[in-house]
């Protein structure tokens, strides 16, 4: 992940030690000074998120990494990044919660927190890779999406991925497709920092480049200054939402396995999807027609794709390492197709055998 961040152009990392994400900080503290970037260990999680936003405003691609309790603390400033439209990447290696919970054990308990954790209405991008090669690619994509949509992008890993060793095949960094924030095409005196044309994303001037403008967490108008005007506020809130929800095709990514003839579809993400794939192979050997739909982009949720899937199968199984979070999104779009949750929040991975048992149960029904 650290290598992916550097390859994607990340040149600033601010973090705070927390299990199980500290390894990312350790790698970045080694790599960044060697590529002319900056690593800093801040006094707390809040501060590291603040420093990331500051560095991004000054023009550097910036990231931080944390886990459950730290993610809770970062959410205040993540909201600022949403409101002020500051590109940045936040890694959350999910562990058991709430509170201190299970620091060294995996969970998928922060899925809804990633979506709604910071206060107020906002849209968010969250990605959930399920193997190390994909983690590399999704990290690169996270930086690209952050720059393209001027938004915080959250990478949701779990402790299994965070501490996994497996063979990876990595590309030549020079061949990566890298997206950089769009700079304003107008001189400073004509620059309206939050005016858009043609897209929902305003061009971004970096600080100290001659464009002296105002950045605030307050609701603001096109000039960037605070306003309480209901029409301007509504327009801002709608645009912040639309820049994500009107660009689903550019953001949503998913993988389908054995779904062509499937009667039962498993909707699984992250490390659980690995178990799901093994379970599907075994179920197919037993003659069951099952497949896996794996959202790589968790937020915005690929609701249209899952709705289409639901209309073609007899049932949906949603295994999660939590007490049921993404299953709510599946139920919202599944119509009359039965949705079966399979939940486990005890810090242990969901094994293929557990998923297989659930599949047999659904098959019998």
């Amino acid at each position: 992940m650290a290598k992916a961040a550097i390859d994607a152009g990340c040149r600033f990392y601010a973090g705070y030690p927390i299990t199980p994400s500290s390894e990312i900080a350790a790698d970045m503290s080694h790599l960044l000074p060697r590529v002319g970037g900056v690593f800093i260990q801040m006094e707390d999680e809040i501060a590291s998120m603040g420093a990331v936003i500051g560095a991004s405003l000054a023009g550097l691609k910036a990231m931080t990494a944390t886990s459950g309790p730290g993610f809770s603390l970062k959410l205040e400033n993540i909201g600022f990044a949403c409101m002020a439209e500051v590109p940045c990447v936040i890694v959350n290696v999910m562990r058991g919660g709430p509170s201190t919970g299970l620091p060294t054990l995996p969970s998928q308990g922060d899925v809804m927190q990633a979506r709604w954790g910071t206060h107020g209405d906002h849209s968010i991008i969250a990605l959930a890779p399920s193997n190390l090669t994909e983690t590399y690619w999704e990290t690169v994509r996270a930086f690209n999406l952050a720059e393209e949509y001027r938004a915080p992008v959250i990478l949701l890993l779990d402790e299994i991925l965070g501490h996994m060793s497996e063979r990876v095949e990595l590309p030549d960094p020079s061949e990566l497709e890298i997206f950089n924030r769009v700079a304003p095409q107008v001189p400073p005196e004509a620059y309206l920092p939050y005016a858009t044309s043609g897209s929902h994303v305003p061009p971004m001037a970096n600080f100290f480049t001659g464009y002296r403008y105002h950045v605030t967490g307050l609701t603001h108008d096109l000039t960037g200054f605070p306003t309480e005007d209901p029409e301007i506020t509504e327009a801002l809130m709608r645009r912040l939402d639309a820049k994500i929800t009107d660009n689903l095709n550019g953001i949503i990514k998913y993988e389908e396995t054995h779904l062509e003839d499937a009667d039962i579809a498993i909707v699984a993400y992250g490390s659980v999807a690995r178990s799901a794939r093994v379970a599907v192979e075994q179920a197919r050997e037993e003659g069951m027609k099952v497949g896996v739909f794996r959202p790589v982009t968790l937020w915005p949720f690929p609701g249209k794709q899952v709705a289409h899937l639901a209309s073609h199968v007899k049932g949906l199984l949603v295994p999660e390492m939590n007490l049921g979070q993404i299953v709510g999104e599946v139920e919202r779009v599944a119509g009359s197709t039965p949705v079966v949750p399979l939940n486990q929040a005890n810090g242990q991975p969901i094994p293929p055998s557990g998923i297989l048992t659930a599949l047999r149960y659904m098959e019998r029904k």
Partner: protein
């Protein structure tokens, strides 16, 4: 809902009670040599944002003018200057100044400023906060920013109260003072901002008061010119939310109350403990060049690693 205030009572009990034996000589000593360079204020202001939202007579305006004069005297390029502010009355200042301005969440000025400065080492980063923003919700950041000694200037407008939210007591509200949340007098001991900053590692620490705007300018200018973490505490008047409940609702009377407590560092060193009781020392109280500045140090070390 207004609560009855016992002004006489607070005047008796407040440890910052007015000192009446303040000689003319002492008063004149707090005034630093004055640079009469002409200041074109509109050149530094976002004039379409005037008038400010501050209450009439608010000390924040005096601090803003002092800051403009200090930047003007140093002839800094406006494009290279960032003003970072937080939440509270002080937080408004970033909207009014024609620099790169960043209005952060409550208490988070210093982390954002740290990111800016590390990303652009040649930028001038000035942080404007209040006593609640810097010392309560931002207290941890305050300690560690001083410890790192990043080249930036933190101006704390200390008006002894949470003004914007209606007058709740803050870490600097004098013991016994009345506030919206201390209707029977505040119980909490106060922070000694200057000594906390020095102990935490800031390398330029000064205190001033809006009763002497020239002195505020000098203290800020010294902080801006210093390479390292500089902290300037500016005692200021919130006559509306602190003064009306305690000393006086008139700005000039509250400023006079602040003024009567201040004593110049140059004079204070000849005063004994008894004489200094109830007085607040103003001036440059700590200035060292011996500690390495963080950002230059980082880039130097990083370059050495690469070579």
């Amino acid at each position: 809902m207004s609560r009855p205030t016992k002004i006489e009572n607070i005047r008796r009990e407040c440890p910052l009670q007015p000192c009446t034996n303040f000689s003319a000589e002492e008063a004149s000593c707090t005034a630093a040599p004055w640079d009469n360079r002409r200041v074109d204020y509109p050149d530094y202001l976002r004039n379409d944002k005037m008038p400010t939202q501050w209450c009439s007579g608010c000390g924040a305006g005096l601090v803003m003018k002092a800051l403009i004069r200090a930047v003007n005297e140093l002839q800094w390029d406006k494009n290279k200057v960032a003003i970072v502010s937080g939440i509270g009355c002080s937080g408004r200042m970033s909207s009014y100044l024609d620099f790169n301005t960043l209005h952060t969440p409550h208490g988070r000025t210093l982390p954002f400023a740290t990111g800016l400065k590390l990303a652009k080492p040649d930028a001038h980063v000035i942080i404007v906060t209040g006593d609640g923003d810097a010392l309560a919700i931002g207290g941890n950041h305050f300690l560690h920013a001083c410890r790192r000694n990043i080249d930036s200037t933190l101006i704390i407008i200390n008006n002894f109260i949470y003004g914007l939210t209606g007058g709740q007591f803050s870490p600097t509200t004098p013991v016994g003072s009345y506030a919206e949340t201390s209707p029977d007098g505040s119980l909490e001991p106060t922070f000694d901002t200057v000594n906390v900053a020095i102990a935490a590692g800031a390398t330029y620490v000064a205190r001033s008061a809006v009763s002497n705007p020239r002195h505020v300018t000098e203290m800020i200018k010294g902080g801006l010119a210093h390479s390292g973490m500089s902290v300037v505490e500016a005692l200021s008047n919130c006559h509306i939310n602190f003064g009306r409940r305690n000393v006086s609702g008139k700005p000039e009377e509250l400023i006079a109350w602040i003024s009567r407590q201040t004593v110049s560092h140059d004079i204070a060193r000849y005063m004994d403990e008894e004489q200094l009781k109830g007085r607040v020392v103003v001036g440059v109280l700590h200035h060292v060049e011996t500690r390495p500045e963080y950002v230059a140090n980082y880039y130097e070390k990083a370059a050495a690693i690469r070579n």
